[in-house]
Amino acid sequence: MKVIYQYEWKQLVRSSAFIWLTLLLFAIGLYAIFYGRNEVKQQQFKISLLRENIEKNNLAMADSLLKKDTAASELGEFTGRLHANNPDGIAALSFGQRDIHKFAQHITNGSFFYNKYATGYYNKTMSGEIVNPFKLLAGHLDLSFVFLFLFPLYFILLSYNLFSSEQENGTIGLLGMQPVPVKIIVLHKLLLRLFIVALSGVSLLLIGGLVNYTITDFRILLFAAAFISYLICWMGIIALLISFKRSSWFNALALVAVWISFTLLLPSILNAILNTRYPVHTKTELAAAVQKANAEFFAMDKKTKTDSFKHTFPFYANSFDTIGSWEDPKFYRVTHTLIDNYVLPFEKERINLLKKRNEFSTSLSYFSPTLITQNIFNDLAGSNMSQMLQYDTSAWHYFKQISRYTDDMIFLKSNRADSKDFEKLPLYEYKPVIKNSVIVLDLLVLVCAGVLLLLSSGFINNKR
């Protein structure tokens, strides 16, 4: 066996195509690491700008509260809190859906849903980030893209003629005379290539880990495990096609066809199926609800508005008789709360539909090893759709925490707040939930698929 490995290795390093291909892949991989790092740094920088501004306001408020107390309504209105989805080093390896969704929000008082869905560029951060749609269309060239798209192709190019070249060069007879069966020799040749491809990828991953200061992060190991499992799956596919003992060009064509099916065609077809099952409707009802609530609750007379508020929030019912005019903080809190309360069912419907859509999308991804691996990469990096949804909904919960805290002071404590109250303004740091059990299951699916395909190739070899 040692001779096979030595011989194959020598053959490979003598091939200029192999050297050039490896160098090209490495160059693209290094660029991908640089690109991912740059994307993460840009988002971190944008978050830091907002954080600095909020902290500056908070410091000014803290200073002023040392001298005298203030209106509680001002705590949430002029200071607020940062709610960020901070990308870490692992996110640089798989940026996923992070560029599409917002990542830094200034949570203040007011109507959450009006700020989220109506007020855009002017003065709020809750409605979304500025993005170039053209860039979104092009997508990322991060390390996960290199692993998912280019490494299988590299593996294919190194392996498609493992058996056929022996047939075409007339050396198959010589191989047949060896004490080891030909299929075992081919399997070892394939294993050597798997080792080379995996080693190249893991080297890039380690460089990525070092550059992004995440080399000690446990998730790097899982990232490597996902990559190797993905390659095992591809090894099974290659072995299966080789076992049909067709010509080199047939193998190349067939393997490229499988590659394009898994990486491009199938995902686009699955996306079409997803859109048919769960169409992305225009959110007319939600948009109209925001508009209607904003117009109606501001125009509503004070008495009706107060009664409606007290009915919905009975714990504040005995704290005041009726709200005042525009200058009364209760006027705004009551109106904004009623707006949010009106829009909430529409928002819940949107979130539920998105969850269902996302669950269906995840189940569809089991049709392609590329999609399964991408899900693992994005999960580990906190960059997938379900984590974006978590971040989105956590903003509402954080807003509720802050507004409940200040509302208690506005309605129950005569709207006064001192420095201690300000210090206790709720803090919350968003951390994406990473479902390790799902990741392990996905890894098993990939490895099992690879092993099953390898066994099938052995079976076909025996038959032929």
Partner: protein, 470 residues
């Protein structure tokens, strides 16, 4: 001779199993993409048209209000998808579906399809453009990589040359044969696509120039890939090496270069954050665009001018509502500020995108992608045009209400109410889709790049006589 070679090539192609596999795969994909895409566009446009009507009805059905308060009810501007977006969805999945228009604020567009989609969307959407831009070149490669190398491997190229042909004629003949074969494959699809488009436009006419330009562009693109395939095949010694080279070209053209060029654009020209953008606007509104004309000073100047215009000394004596006049001025001023800052961001995006547009000269796939988006009305300039029209409408309807308030009430009067007749003064929003010349003007580089590619291909064909027969 060329005609004979072309005829023979078509006959050979039609006899080969691989060509029929290619044909079936291509037609099935095109049919699936056409059905999927056209149903989706029809459904979305139906929803958006209904939503636009609902928004209008909501506007008119408001109870009697002070005109400025009525303006605060707001209006929606829904983006109706262009008829040809069923062919190429372009940026539509990544841009919002509507804008909420209201006084004092310029809102961003909301609910892009991408926001609601998983990472599946990032692999591409199943539209005819996706199939023709990404899959068709690969099928051309599969069908043609061995067209000339096999003649070399089987020693039949020498026979052809011995009969008085030249390598150039062989290459041209093969190109003609393959081009015609693919034309025969694509023709039924184009005819069906015309019917689909006609079914969209029952009220309006089919935009034939746009349609023919679109099909013509795709046929040229098909030609460019066939020429590249034949040239690589002619210059390669074996079919295997031709296939490897062509797969490399395909990979670079449809996957690597588009991503790389777009990524480089955003690395060089950094996009500001929402917070930075909003801070600049707030600062401009507070301090004035030039930094020396704060809000209070602007209001004071306006008051002086208004008093002078109506030849009175005190605001109470004005025959008009000064609050409303101040709001008109303020609306115009904030719009000016917003447009200035928005223009800066747009220019930045244009600079980012320009790198990809220049890459069209390196990559015909990108040249086609951008030309196709432009013709189908789904590129960045069309999106920008919609935003501009919506913002113009916002200023129009808000100031129509403010002007009415200024002439029908007096200063300090916020209680007099007006009803539907006043609301009807505002015409409904209707997006005027841009003309073809607009598309051509904004994608000059990519159209020019496609032409350059054709010229390069012709020159390269001319050079093929230098190729050796073995």
């Amino acid at each position: 001779m060329i005609r004979i070679i072309a005829k023979k090539e078509i006959r050979t192609l039609f006899r080969e199993k691989i060509f029929w596999i290619v044909a079936v795969v291509l037609l099935l994909l095109l049919a699936a993409s056409l059905v999927n895409s056209s149903i989706s566009v029809k459904q979305l446009n139906k929803e958006r048209t209904e939503a636009q009507h609902m928004s209008r009805e909501g506007w008119l059905m408001q109870p009697p209000k002070n005109p400025h308060s009525a303006a605060h009810y707001g209006n929606f501007a829904f983006r109706i998808k262009s008829p040809l977006s069923f062919f190429d969805n372009g940026l539509d999945a990544y841009t919002g579906t509507y804008l909420f228009l209201e006084p004092h604020k310029q809102n961003g567009d909301k609910f892009s399809q991408a926001e609601e989609s998983s990472s599946l969307l990032r692999f591409g959407e199943l539209t005819p453009a996706f199939v023709l831009q990404m899959i068709l070149p690969l099928l051309i490669v599969f069908a043609g990589f061995g067209a000339i190398t096999r003649e070399k491997e089987g020693n039949t190229l020498k026979l052809l040359l011995a009969q008085g042909s030249s390598i150039r004629k062989v290459v041209i003949g093969k190109i003609a044969g393959h081009w015609l074969a693919f034309l025969l494959l694509l023709l039924p699809f184009f005819i069906v696509a015309i019917f689909v488009l006609a079914s969209f436009n029952q009220q309006t006419k089919v935009d034939w120039p746009r349609l023919f330009l679109l099909f013509g562009t795709y046929l040229l693109y098909t030609g460019v890939w066939i020429i590249i395939t034949m040239l690589v095949s002619a210059y390669s010694v074996t079919s295997r090496s031709a296939l490897m080279k062509l797969l490399g070209c395909w990979m670079l053209a449809v996957i690597i270069i588009p991503k790389l060029s777009s990524n480089i654009g955003t690395v060089i020209y950094k996009t500001p954050s929402q917070f930075q953008f909003a801070s600049l606007i707030n600062k401009d509104v507070e301090e004035g665009i030039d930094g020396h004309n704060p809000y209070d000073k602007r209001r004071e100047t306006l008051m002086d001018a208004t008093l002078k215009k109506y030849k009175v000394k005190k605001p109470e004596d004005l025959p008009v509502n000064f609050d409303a006049i101040a709001m008109i001025e303020s609306e115009q001023y904030t719009t000016e500020v917003f447009r200035k800052r928005k223009e800066e961001v747009d220019e930045l995006f244009i600079k980012q995108n320009k790198i990809s547009e220049w890459a069209c000269f390196l990559n015909p796939a990108q040249a086609l992608q951008y030309s196709s988006m432009a013709i189908c009305g789904t590129d960045y300039s069309h999106y920008h045009d919609f935003q501009n029209q919506a913002e113009t409408y916002r200023l129009y309807f808000v100031n129509t209400m403010n002007e009415y308030m200024s002439t029908h009430t007096r200063s300090g009067d916020w209680v007099t109410r007006f009803g539907k007749d006043t609301y009807e003064l505002v015409k409904p929003f209707s997006y005027q889709s841009a003309a073809l010349s607009f598309a051509l003007k904004h994608q000059q580089l990519s159209f020019a790049a496609l032409l350059v590619w054709i010229i390069i291909c012709i020159l390269l064909i001319y050079q093929t006589n230098k190729i050796k027969a073995v």
